[in-house]
Amino acid sequence: MIRFGHIIIATAVVVNLCAVVSGRHGLPARENTAKIAAPQRFPPPEFESGYDLPPSPAAPHPRQSIYEYIDVAVLLAALILASYLVLKMRSRRAIFVLMVFSLVYFGFWRKGCVCPIGAIQNIVLSIFDRDYAVPITVSAFFLLPLIFTLFFGRVFCSAVCPLGAIQDLVLLRPVSVPDWLASGLRVFAYLYLGLAVLFAATGSAFLICRYDPFVSFFRLSGNLNILIIGACFLVVGLFIGRPYCRFFCPYGVILRQLSRLSRWRVTITPDECIGCRLCEDACPFGAIRKPADEWSATEYVRGKKTLALLILLLPVLILFCGWAGARFKNVTSRMHSTVRLAERIYLEEAGEVEGTTDASLAFRATGREVKDLYEEASGVRGQFAIGGWLLGGFMGLVIGVKLTAVSVWRQRTDYEADRAGCLACGRCFKHCPRERLRLSKKDKAIS
């Protein structure tokens, strides 16, 4: 069963990568005679019958901004309620109901936009682009879940995020993914975050929005490729709990780190752990840590040596990955429309391609100098070179820290929810006999 799970993960990864790589390779060449800013060739009519012109073009109003404040209010209320349900009421059923509500409201009703995951990009863009001001509602969407995670753990993931909810609903036959594999796959999430930040900072694209796998379901329309990726995630999600959340979600990566420090968090048992092992298999996300003894002296020494080696290796890894990241600048910078256009114009000028694209025609119609465009594009490439160093260094750090996890050991006496990985879904409560005892006592007290 586990091997089957691996194949599914591998397929999902390959499909996702293919989709990212294939992307949109510019537009098909097409005859185009349009000119920009067409002149107004004909004089206005002089009606002899005194005909009056109809009113100016219709301009329907946008959705009122009050609704966006309502969205923020709903988000805040859902986060407060989720924290209460997870930490105080400890009811999986109530969490489930709130989760379905969030899926309906933020997903199907509000069409999955704007979400905290995508808001990362708005925040990054507003930091790097002086002309872009981030709307207050988007800032609230970004910050509120972070603050709640810092205090109460990943309650946002458990019952508020519509992307998490749709995956949680389809999870029917959970298969456990071994820790080393899960940890390895999570590298994708860090890479995704890094790339999303890189593309947002350079003003190239909002990668997270472009490859949001479930938004097509929420809108019941959209790009076929994305629909297929989403369907793959849901099929994989039948067996592997929340594959997007665990292995790809860029916001989840930030929440993981904050959740490590959370003030309050999910406890499996309401009072004491009796070590019954009943909760061991309850968690479909591999977030329950077993009790562990202290390391023996020999293992301790070996661990210490490995740790020292890995810490020495860390700067080398960071530098190497940074260098490798900067090598990719010609590939990554193609995400930026200016670079894409400059490359196309270069090929056309050099006579290496026949015909034109809409973009190259539009550029030529502006009458701009080709040299200007090249200069601008090489400037953008320069940004991508710096970004590549930073992104590569970040990935090196991530991989290095992940490796050091091999050499550290934590002693545990009880079964505990992993601070970082626990999605606060509440499945583990149900299986704890101490919890059942607490509930039956509560029932008796009520009756």
């Binding site: 206005p44 936009c113 930091i127």
Partner: protein
């Protein structure tokens, strides 16, 4: 056991330190964002002076029926008898027959006003935002027809998928108070 307790308290001290740092960091970020806050939210719109009417608007929108529709500015319109927004470039005949029309959905209505003027109105419920008429009017006429995002339909996606595919960079974020970009009236 005593050693263990020390260990735990050291870990807690570190944890509290990081917690405080993160809280301060989030506060700092909030402050930074407060300084960068937009007074208003933004919406997507097409700058008709840059748009080349490539046709992506009809197909790239996440909505089944695109949020982009054609707008007709009557003040710019020349009320031409032979309108190349309405007619194919080489029509069989100057009549309202479907074979002569450039609009694939027949969304433009042609009405006789007086010799030699005809008025063209767009039935928005039929318009799919393909921009065929826009291109015709831009190439041969006054450019009175142009594409605009209809904000009663637009979902205002965080990244507009038409904008991502726009070859001329005509899509931009505009303040929500002035959500339409109309062409300037200025006859030759």
């Amino acid at each position: 056991m005593a050693e263990n307790k020390n260990d735990i308290s050291r870990r807690n001290l570190l944890r509290n330190g990081f917690f405080g740092t993160c809280l301060a960091g989030l506060g700092g970020l909030a402050g930074l964002l407060a300084g960068r806050l937009g007074k208003t939210r933004t919406l997507w719109q097409i700058d008709p002076n840059i748009c080349i009417a490539c046709g992506n608007c009809a197909t790239r929108c996440v909505l089944e029926e695109s949020a982009v529709k054609c707008t007709h500015d009557f003040e710019i319109c020349g009320y031409c008898e032979i309108c190349f927004g309405f007619f194919e470039p080489e029509p069989y005949d100057i009549t309202e027959g479907a074979e002569n029309q450039s609009c694939p959905t027949g969304a433009i209505k042609r009405k006789y006003i007086e010799d030699p003027y005809y008025e063209y109105t767009i039935d928005e419920s039929l318009c799919i935002g393909c921009g065929k008429c826009v291109k015709g009017c831009m190439t041969f006429g006054n450019g009175a027809l142009f594409l605009q995002v209809r904000h009663d339909r637009c979902l205002n996606c965080n990244e507009c998928s038409i904008a991502a595919a726009c070859p001329s960079g005509a899509f931009k974020r505009v303040p929500a108070e002035r959500p339409y970009i109309l062409k300037k009236v200025g006859h030759a």
